[in-house]
């Protein structure tokens, strides 16, 4: 009986240790997939705004959790800003993506270029 107790104790201990060692999530994605999916189902302005707010929440929450902002989040928020003629904010966000993930630089430079030309058009 005593042996059995030790066996159970040991198993529980092992479980606890391995659970404690489970890898920490490397990003905070919030409800990204579900707000994007809702928007894809019904493409309304209201649902786009919800998705945009979710992207903003992901950025602030990642900062408070001391995690890097997930790939593509700055860029996607920048793209929404670009479409609503907020080119300056778009450029700032594209630059943030490019700095955090050098892999994106090529595409971000292209997007910054198009945002700049749009900015020139609107300011003229």
């Amino acid at each position: 009986m005593r042996k059995l107790c030790w066996g159970v104790f040991f198993t529980v201990l092992c479980c606890l240790i391995s659970a404690g060692c489970a890898p920490k999530k490397i990003y905070y994605f919030g409800n990204y997939s579900s707000t994007l999916y809702s928007f894809e189902k019904n493409q309304t302005d209201e649902l786009l705004l919800k998705h945009q707010q979710e992207l903003e929440t992901i950025i602030t929450k990642s900062e408070t959790k001391n995690l890097p902002v997930p790939p593509g989040i700055y860029a996607e928020l920048g793209y929404i800003n670009l479409k609503s003629n907020n080119s300056k904010e778009a450029i700032r966000l594209f630059q943030a993506e490019s700095q955090l993930y050098p892999e994106s630089k090529h595409l971000m430079d292209r997007l910054i270029e198009s945002a700049e030309s749009k900015n020139d058009q609107t300011s003229q």
């Binding site: 490397i26 994605f29 997939s33 999916y37 894809e40 997930p70 593509g72 793209y79 994106s104």
Partner: protein, 231 residues
């Protein structure tokens, strides 16, 4: 001798168990190119839809970016890249399968592109039961060598027929109605997410994952049929 009986028993049973289970393989033996090329960035192409559901393509595409990022890769933002591809006249990924992929390196700076094929996204009625199946084929190809770096399929089958309605005729009718009601509101997307996680479990981790280049020995179920093996 009596003391060691469990140990002996375990030694005798272990090979039996492993022989009965599915054939296993490791990440480095199955996908050596992933460790040679070490792609850092992945461009997700619009899914190829081979299922009968017309809306599967748009819905499925919202599920893949997040798990791929968690696997440690830089994923280009799909809502942006899919729009750019549309502007360039690329609506159907089917047409790209045998074309040189270097264009994606030039335009986006992507190290690899991910082809996804929706094989199944449907409901199957078997008189009184119904099952929902989502099956996704993934194929990661290099934009420098044009070769497949990683390939795996994730399938999820869900039984929607619910609890036991009993054996009487009334029970049967209830079951049919229940199945019909449940399938009308069936949402595929949560299952598509599970199928993704199943497929991605065999993928070597990318540079933003702490296990990057340390996971060569991790085992998973071998999906390659014996006959098609090149080695």
């Amino acid at each position: 001798m009596y003391k060691y009986r469990y140990l002996i028993l375990a030694i005798l049973i272990a090979p039996l168990l492993s022989a009965c289970g599915p054939k296993m393989t490791t990440k480095s033996t199955e996908f050596p190119m992933m460790y040679e090329e070490r792609p850092a960035s992945i461009l997700i192409l619009p899914p190829i839809n081979e299922s009968t559901a017309a809306d599967a393509k748009e819905y499925y595409s919202t599920t893949i970016q997040e798990p791929l990022a968690y696997s440690g890769y830089y994923t280009f933002p799909y809502p942006i890249t899919s729009e750019i591809l549309k502007m360039e006249g690329i609506y159907d990924t089917e047409l790209l399968v045998n074309l040189p992929l270097s264009k994606f390196k030039e335009y986006f700076g992507a190290d690899a592109v991910l082809f996804t094929t929706i094989k199944k996204w449907d409901l199957c009625y078997i008189v009184i039961a119904s099952t929902l199946t989502v099956s996704i084929d993934c194929d990661l190809k290099s934009t420098t060598s044009n070769q497949t770096l990683w390939k795996y399929t994730g399938t999820i089958v869900v039984d929607l027929s619910g609890g036991n309605g009993g054996g009487t005729l009334a029970g049967l009718v209830v079951k049919v109605v229940m199945a019909a009601v449940q399938t009308a509101v069936a949402d595929y997307v949560p299952y598509a997410r599970q199928a993704n996680y199943r497929a991605l479990s065999s993928m070597p981790y990318g540079k933003y994952h702490p296990q990057h280049n340390k996971d060569q020995k991790i085992q998973f179920v071998d999906q390659t049929p014996e006959k098609t093996k090149t080695k």
